[in-house]
Symmetry: none
Subunit: 193 residues, 4 copies
């Protein structure tokens, strides 16, 4: 005679999990792996530190999960690009605005942290080496090529161009507080004629 139905339990579990992930993203993004204590994550999530271990076996697993989420989110964000109406340049401008505007920073931060830390499971590092950079760039290539054909985007090697564009954006997002955030047009000038 379970007082709570299995379904309710599942719901609780999913909510808790998400709760922890949100909290962890916030803390990891700000402090890095070494600087983040599990107790901070627990406190941020408003639960006991013991409970975090019910959902994530280790700190590294938690971090890896975050990375995975970040990668998926960024990819689906680009995917959405194709569904937009308008010229290639307008699409890119929209994506850029989207990134600069929103609270996307945690995602970029996490990926950055993963690239610069030690304790990161090789598993996560592998994911990163293959994914975001490449995925982003590959998925953006067609749109940039269209932009070149349409005469809006500067000529030159596309991989180089898109790679540089992605680096610039990543850099801005990673720096975060304390730096002057460039306006959309400032960034757009790097790729427009």
């Amino acid at each position: 005679m379970p007082p709570i139905s299995g379904e309710q339990l599942n719901q609780i579990r999913d909510e808790r999990r998400e709760q922890i992930i949100q909290a962890a993203a916030k803390v990891f993004a700000k402090r890095g792996i070494a600087g983040t204590k599990m107790s901070m994550v627990a406190a941020e999530a408003g639960i006991s530190h013991g409970l975090v271990y019910h959902y994530f076996k280790t700190k590294n697993e938690l971090f890896t999960t975050l990375i995975q989420g970040a990668i998926e989110a960024s990819i689906s964000s680009i995917e959405g690009l194709n569904r937009i109406q308008g010229s290639a340049l307008e699409k890119i401008r929209l994506l850029t605005k989207h990134i600069l505007d929103q609270e996307k920073a945690p995602y970029f931060m996490l990926i950055y942290q993963a690239n610069h830390s030690d304790g990161v499971p090789e598993e996560a590092k592998q994911l990163l080496r293959e994914y975001p950079q490449q995925a982003y760039i590959e998925r953006l290539l067609p749109t940039f090529r269209d932009g070149q054909l349409e005469g809006d985007i500067v000529e030159g090697d596309l991989v180089n161009l898109v790679g540089s564009y992605f680096t610039i954006l990543s850099g801005i997002m990673v720096l975060g507080e304390g730096y002057h955030i460039p306006e959309l047009e400032f960034v757009m000038r790097t790729i427009t004629k």
Copy 2:
């Protein structure tokens, strides 16, 4: 009357100190404050960890010293700008190249770390809040203004422009390995007509 000439001792001390600073800059830049263990610094410098404490009272003091050096170096780097011959744009291009080319990354990294970490002595944070951003930007303003007057640099608010330019460069340097480093002209497009 020490059995070793005071000068010899001073030399040893200065060398060791510099040796530790170099090692520490490398490690701190890569791993951040929390991620850097004093044993890593010692190993990188090829000395015992005990000796590090002979020269720097605490990890924080060591880090703060690094920050101070980074700030001084970056400022003097800009100061040199005025001694160069050529148009404003050429000066800026040279500075940009200088930054992108060389191993300036540690300096940008350190300043970034200091802005984003916790254990940073308030002392160091203070230094940072006042210096690099402002100092850099203020010192670059005249040259950018010249560039505008000479018709090479885009119009618009100078503080905004230089701030954005500085952010872009900082971002690139901070990202470091794993990201596609933009070429000089890519970056220059953000400020040229």
Copy 3:
């Protein structure tokens, strides 16, 4: 709604805390602050050193807690004096016996250590500068005065007399093992006619 009743947890916490305090008193009294290693306290308490830090933030905090307890215990010990029946001299004899007989040594030792060590938190030192000496003496004054009026206690300045009496007792307790402990009457002769 913790799975273990809060009361149970409180009980565990109190027991452990007391356990650590007992162990610490023993070790600190014997070895002094510098001579006491947290591992010794942990071993004496039969727990891991990590757990000690669960209950006391630092070695100094632990020591300060001990001091506080010692002060309170000694004061309440004197307070009890007034509830006793009999002449003033008998009361003092009883107190003296009480001190000499029992395992009061740790309390005197702790207070002594605190007065003679370095790393003692100023907080603890302050407590001591104000308390035991003064408190003891002031609280004993009336009884000694009664003793003088009753013709049992030697004449003379009361503060001087009680202070000396307290010093003698403290000295005996601090010396501890290795010294011949005087008998009650030997000590009593210092104050009786």
Copy 4:
């Protein structure tokens, strides 16, 4: 062609040695063994810490040397007792005054430290277990017996009496600062009729 004669060297050596011993006695007495750092001794003596090791192989050896000196000094102090004119009581009063008056504290402190510390070489501990207590008491016995015969000193077991008397004095000396130092007559009452 030594610039300094061997005799001069010997003199320097002896002076340095004494200089270190004085400094060490002061520091050890105040801080105990664990609380005393060799650097403190060196600083107190006004020399480099390296030099201390030219004269004393280890910290323990230095401490043991101090103990030896303390023992010898106290014994010779009692020996002098017999050369004094007057009644037994007067002799004892003189000795007591002598102890209470002067800066004998370091000696008592050292012996006390030795009895209560760990790092003390068993060698030193052995010396102590046999010497001061016994030596003092045995050498005082005859005088106390005379005092009893002369009717000035209380009756009773002599070893007990002298032992208690020695304990009282030791305690006073060990407590040191922060305690009310009893006057001569207060102490004398413990042994006089």
